[in-house]
Symmetry: none
Subunit: 183 residues, 4 copies
DNA sequence: AATGAATGAGCCTTCATTCAT
DNA sequence: TATGAATGAAGGCTCATTCAT
């Protein structure tokens, strides 16, 4: 909290706070609120992220970074089918973001910017690999394109977390992604 | 025409305008804008819907009303499986609301109020019937509950309309709902 | 002050307040301050003048309107020389605006907009007439162009009002404008 | 080089930068911007000039210092009339400050402080000498006081530099100062 | 002495809501 | 009942100033 002591730490705290607040209150949450949650002044938020959009982009990028990590790690899983569906489940269930993530995914302009674009490409590539392997293993329909997988993620991220019962939520998630399997 | 009917007409115009504006610009659209679109003053909007939330509720209720109508009509369809999936596709593809609808569905507080609750119950009942018949006909998994159907609707409404290519959108929709079918 | 009672009156009050406040505290004065002076809420200021620039333009336009009126009235004066110098003195001495007026005159972008442009043209024309007549009467150098007259006005408006002694201020003003006379 | 001279060099750089930035962007320019231009951190700016006002004063003082130098040098010119008018023209045309200079001159509080006061007195004295000599030589009206000369400088500094055409600007300047000459 | 991150007051602007007409 | 002007709380953002390093 002391000035200068660690700018990077503050940046991270703001990012964290933003993640939580956006998740809890939607993208409309005020910068003030985020600053409070991060334990810093508004000015600090704006110093690190000059615009609300920039903050949003950063949150989204951080989120996608994690996704990419997950996907890349799973690309080496011996069971390609399980790997893909694991990835999907983990992604949707991931604590925290939820709404903000999905919201951001669909907001025009966000996700197109220079901060997010590279990460997005990385995730896309990783998921494409996951998908390809799953298809070769016969665990996923042949006619599924990566873009569709992201639509599934988007939809599931939005809707499924609204279920509070753990078992039911898991079941619904599985069911929705079952649409990707061969019949 | 009597003042009574004048008022009724205005109410309808506002509701219509709200539907369009929310669909086009999101729930953040200003009341002013809705009034302009409806060709009335802001005051009139507030006379009919004392709060933005009330307006939202009314829009949602109207939307659900249509859904219920659809569902009830389809309940008499000779092919129960087709009936359910027709209903789902129609619901998601329905022009207009889309995002606003889904947004509203998940906003806490909305959909729980006295305006929406009854309609919601009606839709639920109608969809339950549709679902039950489809299950009896073997077109849908036995272990699906109505609640889950709504989660599917919610997710699909959010994500699928972001696809601009008509054929791809339809295919994705079908694929997602395929998760409801028996394997 | 009551809503609706007289929107036009409120607009005028805001304009008046803006004039005074800008004159007293410079163009940087806050809208809040202007609202307070006008006895209205900030929202009202923005309803009438959607932007600070718009308010500035309006103030400037109002000011120029008065100038144009003055100039046009004086164009019929039997003594062309006196007419021009009267106009100049009156313009500079005019209570109120002072700083804001001159500031606005030089701010790029302001004075070029659609609100100010027409009035500006009107003043220019009127002053051109005044100048022309004064030159024909031999009261002003032949080689003076209207543009230069405005530069004189601008400079004098800025500097002369800083003199508090009435007689000295008048004398200085006369002296400065003497530069326009034939030698 | 000793820390002493380091500090001195920095002070000068800041002053220089401030001069340029104020001239280019007006007194509203941010301290950050000035620091950047000077190639130092904001902290350094504030170490040397604890307040924006202090910085402004310093800039003004530096400017007046130059003026005083000019005036004192010209006091020995064999042609007293030419000397005064040369001084006036040079002062107004002086690249750099222009607007900021004039702004500062009229802002209450600035120019009255302990930093500026002494220099101001020095300029005043020097200009008084210049004026006196010019009057004795019959190049300037008898009834002109030093204060009025400064008002002329102020007004001309504000208005004349807005003219972009070199010849026209010079002519206008001459014309305005002609007001000081005997008729 | 220099640095620049942190701070928070303050600015412009938007918008739901009220209420005189 | 309809209207739209008025209101003021909030929101995003800027900037002078402080202070740990």
């Amino acid at each position: 909290m002391s000035p200068r002591s660690d700018a990077a730490r503050n940046r991270a705290r703001v990012l964290d706070a933003a993640q939580q607040v956006f998740a809890a209150d939607g993208l409309g949450a005020s910068t003030e609120q985020i600053a409070r949650r991060a334990g810093v002044g508004v000015g600090t938020v704006f110093r690190h992220f000059p615009t609300k959009e920039a903050l949003l982009s950063a949150v989204l990028a951080a989120r996608l970074e994690t996704l990419a990590d997950d996907a890349e790690r799973l690309a080496e899983d011996p069971d390609p089918g399980a790997a893909l569906f694991d990835f999907l489940a983990r992604t949707v269930q991931a604590s925290g973001l939820k709404i903000a993530y999905a919201d951001a995914l669909e907001r025009a302009g966000i996700g197109t910017d220079e901060v997010v674009a590279p990460v997005r490409e990385r995730v896309t590539k990783a998921v494409a690999t996951l998908l390809d392997r799953a298809q070769r293993a016969g665990a996923v329909r042949e006619d599924v394109a990566v873009g569709q997988v992201f639509v599934f993620i988007h939809g599931a991220s939005r809707a499924v977390p609204t279920i509070t019962d753990d078992a039911l939520r898991a079941a619904t998630l599985r069911m929705m992604f079952d649409g990707l399997r061969p019949r």
